[in-house]
């Protein structure tokens, strides 16, 4: 792993809590690493588990799913489904030998701009430790 290695992280954020929390981090001019690329979905429950595998395949070194804290879901239950799905996804990836540091999930509320920064720093650091993802990365661009 080279010193310059800059991990690329794809993050799926729910519109109501985590995306808003990331907005708040911006409004508060909180600085954090630029390695994170956000895809907005309405709810963490919308994140298809195959997105995670797909993101790794399509070049991400790390993937993050972030939603509302349990009980705070704008749609009441979506994050509970997400929690169940991604708990198992993490197990599966780890089991086939993908570094568990690559896939993370977080609860970030709309008021937790500073937590969002911490989460980003944390996942970027973890992805750095894991190094560039090669295991089942696809070899050409998909479009």
């Amino acid at each position: 792993m080279s010193e310059q290695y800059d991990p690329n992280i794809v993050a799926f954020l729910c519109n109501w809590c985590s995306y808003a929390g990331a907005d708040l981090a911006g409004t508060s001019r909180t600085h954090y690493p630029a390695n994170i690329n956000i895809i907005r979905v309405m709810c963490s429950g919308r994140v298809n588990p195959l997105f995670i595998i797909n993101a790794l395949q399509q070049g991400a070194d790390g993937v993050l799913v972030s939603g509302c804290h349990p009980g705070d879901c704008h749609y009441m239950e979506g994050n509970f489904y997400a929690r169940r799905r991604f708990g198992l996804m993490k197990e599966l990836l780890e089991y086939v030998g993908v570094d568990p540091k690559r896939f993370n999930m977080s609860w970030v509320s709309a008021s937790e701009g500073s937590k969002w920064k911490d989460v980003v720093e944390d996942v970027v650091e973890k992805a750095k430790e894991a190094g560039p993802f090669e295991q089942f990365r696809r070899n050409k661009i998909n479009w």
Partner: protein
């Protein structure tokens, strides 16, 4: 103990019923240790039915595989029942299909066959190579009695037992309309040696293991087609828009295929082992599926295919599901 006479009588009665379309059972194959499914419509075919350690296949797959042909205008769709012979593991497939409404309860007639564990076909063919004529195999006490053309041979049970049976906890059908004979005592304890062995390796070693396997996959999709749980009319992994995986056969696409399939089986895999059995490349697919079976059982306290009234695992949650992995 297996009572073939009873099986045949029940089968005759069953297919004679007005409301039964056909019965799916096992018959001796045309070659060595192989059996093939028998789609029985006439009572006189009952003599062809067998139930022996050779009956490895999970026939529940045919319930959902059967094509629903277009019904000619003016005609009524055929809603007669399908009768199905099941071992313990097969019955869980039926229950799981009921849970997720793949079939309807009134469309199936389940004939339960308590099972003492079936053969590992690879092992038996290796032990007795080059046998072309059909071979009859029976259960003995803790052994298989293999009636080879040149006389019977006895082999200890452990030596030839299929991998999925080694630690079976559900040898008896969990659901049936008719139970053909007495239930047997379960012998498994639910521990998965293969999963444990792999878990104890480091990340790199695990990947090397799977990399080797997935690289050898030829993506014939036999695993998917034999799986009683894979019965979408149109598999997402086949689709071009969106195209989740490319057709190319390489480590990337193959890995994604297997991970996606394993994940679609979360809380649904009933461990019949068909995927692994049919794999022409010998991929240990159950070692992948069993990992998730284990996690679902240990961490979420859930086992699929036991109670037709239960909520599907994937469409439910508990407020206290584990979340120690969340940042």
């Amino acid at each position: 103990m297996v009572d073939l006479e009873k099986l045949k009588n029940v089968a005759k009665d069953t297919v004679s019923r007005e409301d039964v379309k056909y019965l799916i059972g096992w018959r001796q194959g045309t070659y060595g240790f192989r059996v093939s499914p028998l789609f029985m419509t006439e009572p006189e075919d009952a003599d062809k039915l067998i139930f022996s350690p050779l009956c490895v296949n999970n026939l529940a797959t045919y319930l959902t595989l059967a094509e629903k042909l277009p019904v000619p205008r003016g005609a009524e769709p055929d809603t007669r029942k399908v009768a199905l012979m099941v071992k313990g593991c097969d019955s869980r497939a039926v229950v799981q299909q009921l849970i997720e409404k793949g079939i309807e309860r009134e469309s199936v007639l389940v004939i339960g066959c308590p099972c003492q564990g079936v053969l590992d076909l690879e092992k038996v063919e290796e032990k007795f190579p080059g046998i072309h004529s059909p071979v009859d195999v029976q259960w003995g006490d803790d052994k298989f009695i293999i009636n080879l053309p040149d006389g019977p041979q006895e082999v200890p049970r452990e030596e030839l037992l299929a991998k999925k049976c080694l630690n079976c906890r559900y040898p008896n059908p969990v659901m049936s309309d008719v139970m053909l004979w007495e239930e047997v005592e379960a012998w498994g304890n639910g521990e998965y040696a293969d999963v444990k062995e792999l878990e104890e390796k480091d990340s790199q070693a695990r990947w090397s293991f799977w990399q080797d396997k997935f690289e050898s996959c030829i993506r014939c999709y036999a695993c998917r087609n034999a799986c009683p749980m894979c019965y979408c009319e149109d598999c997402v992994l086949d689709r071009l828009n969106p195209q989740w995986i490319y057709r190319s056969n390489n480590i990337s696409e193959n890995t994604v295929f297997h991970l996606a399939r394993a994940f679609h089986l979360v809380g649904r895999c009933i461990e019949c082992g068909e995927c692994e059995r049919v794999c022409p490349m010998g991929l240990p697919l159950m070692t992948l599926n069993r990992k998730l079976v284990k996690e679902v059982r240990d961490k979420y306290d859930f086992e699929p295919g036991l109670d037709p009234e239960s909520k599907p695992f994937q469409s439910s949650y508990r407020p206290d599901d584990q979340e120690d992995f969340i940042l």
